[in-house]
């Protein structure tokens, strides 16, 4: 329990740092972001809104600590003002429309990559020095070392544009009415195939290596020798003795991988025109929509922290040594 509590404190501090970062950035920048923003919005905005933004981004005369408290309050109460790009929709509403897509994509891809990658890693360590062990991890590493933007562009070009097997973009068929019907779920899945494949391809290597290297270390332990001496089948030793213990470093690696998945999300959503937070943040940057951009950043950070926390809980569940 102490472990979980310590992690909770840590994550609160991290969120606090992210909020502070958001608060400081516009105040440090040369020039006036509000002016730039309004120039970009082309006079769509009423003057009251201008004043509100100036207050939010720090171009008022109040002392800094007062501004900071004000900002904290607006974050905690989810009152982040209207988006500029999609004026007058509130930022929070824009975000809640896009978040499910990103969580769906990143979550599914991470889980798929963990399963496939761990399985390959397990198999490679099971046949040390065999074909799979020699070439397959290196192959995946090669694939993963291509920047996600490049992988996404290549897959998009081949499978969506040239072969026309998959759609050119969006989360679902825009001609269909959103509803919980088999047809609509089908179009969601159909549109998610290429983004998912791209994301999974770029993530598998991490898990192959983590699992294989962790297995290699575990296989040197005495209890494995003991299990062999007992005459258990190799398969049983692998799955019930080695893999169960080798999985711990995999769980720790989840936190690293999530940041990576989110990063991939930004490129993949941009290339496939997928309606998630990753694409939104880029659009917000292009439109100089600072409130929306900052809210996206905060949301991504919070999502990653929550996922990290889940990984921590899993870790405690898997490793009884932490449960004192």
């Amino acid at each position: 329990m102490a472990f979980i509590l310590r992690r909770l404190v840590f994550y609160s501090v991290a969120i606090f740092v992210a909020i502070t970062f958001n608060f400081i950035m516009p105040r440090l920048m040369p020039g006036d972001p509000v002016d730039a923003m309004f120039a970009a919005a082309g006079g769509k905005l009423p003057p009251e809104t201008l004043a509100a933004y100036q207050e939010m981004l720090g171009f008022v005369d109040a002392p800094l600590w007062q501004q900071y408290l004000q900002y904290l309050k607006s974050v905690v109460t989810f009152d982040l003002g209207p988006s500029i790009m999609l004026f007058p929709t509130p930022v929070t509403q824009v975000l809640s429309n896009t978040l499910p897509w990103t969580v769906f994509l990143a979550g599914t891809a991470t889980i798929l990559a963990i399963f496939i990658g761990c399985f390959i890693g397990l198999y490679a360590s099971y046949n040390r020095g065999g074909f799979v062990d020699k070439y397959v991890p290196v192959f995946w590493q090669f694939v993963a070392s291509m920047p996600q933007a490049v992988t996404a562009l290549l897959i998009f070009f081949v499978f969506a544009l040239t072969l026309k097997w998959f759609p050119l973009g969006f989360g679902f068929n825009p001609d269909m009415e959103p509803a919980v019907t088999p047809g609509f779920i089908g179009t969601i899945l159909y549109h998610a195939v290429l983004p998912l494949v791209t994301l999974v391809l770029s993530m598998i290597a991490t898990w192959v290596f983590t699992m294989r290297n962790s297995m290699v270390n575990v296989l040197g332990e005495d209890y494995i020798a003991m299990a062999k001496a007992k005459g258990l089948s190799a398969r049983r030793i692998m799955t019930h003795y080695a893999a169960r213990n080798a999985i711990l470093p995999v769980v720790t690696a989840v936190s690293m991988a999530l940041g990576f998945a989110v990063a991939g999300q930004v490129f993949i959503e941009t290339v496939y025109n997928y309606p998630g937070v990753g694409q939104l943040i880029i659009k917000a940057v292009a439109a100089r929509d600072y409130p929306l951009m900052q809210a996206c950043f905060l949301l991504i950070v919070i999502c990653v922290l929550i996922a990290n926390f889940i990984a921590d809980i899993l870790y405690v569940w898997l490793d009884p040594r932490l449960r004192k």
Binding site: F142, S145, V216
Partner: protein
Amino acid sequence: MKTLLSIIGGIAGFYQGNAAGIIGTTIVAIIVVMCLSAPALTEYDPNKRVARGHEPPSAEHIMGSTRAGKDVWSQALYGGRVSLMVAFAAATVTSIIALAIGVSAGYFGGRIDETLMAVTNVMLVFPQLPLLIILAAFLGNVGPFIIALILGLTSWPWGARVMRSQTLAIRNKEFITAAEIMGESKWRIIVVEIMPNLISLAAGMFVGTALYAIGAQAGLEFLGLGDPTVISWGTMLYWAQSSAAFFVGAWWDFLVPGTFIALIGGGLALINISIDEVSNPKLKTGSYLKKWRRLNAEVQAKRREA
């Protein structure tokens, strides 16, 4: 002279029987040499309009031309210089920071360790790319120099953690205690006694960060956050994307920079794998294992006969 020979011997030893390392180094070396000797490999100025827009590859323009009629091959070579410079600059900055923080945290311990690691862990848990996007957005279209700087200043936490744990492992060895008893200064112990033992890890970190920086720079520029007037692999992708090269069938426009990035990434990744295997021989695979198996089988067979 003697040290030089031992360095060469060390390098030769690293590559012996290390296919991944050899292939990786060859790929990276070829690309670096190609970019450095760009003027000899192409006659065109990457900034000048030398052809019609989106001309397919031909004898005259071996990799075709961009929408603006610039030679793609020449752009890829000259642009590669910028991309490689950014990657190596960022990796250098990162390695220095990670070494400094990791070693001081590990060696001094106590309050210093706690503070440094708290900062490191918070930095580590932040998703990096969104952070970079926000920074780049507030800084305005960032040039290669700024990109190298922000990449260098944000990617050290992982390296610092690795360095710290290695320093902790070394710190309690006898030779450090001996140096302390002899009254060596703390700085001498850090620089002369500890650092040399971290070189292989630092090399791995350098290569890993360079790999990451190539991708991150290309990504940021592809997303339009870089300075589009500077030619690099990332901005080439950006222009290919924004000139709809896909939809008009000009595959060469994005395939050429994409291939360069993929190759250098793959090359660096192979080097990284081989460094990992050298510093942790347990992870080795391939011919050594086969030999071990064969010998082991022979021994077992003999035992059975006996």
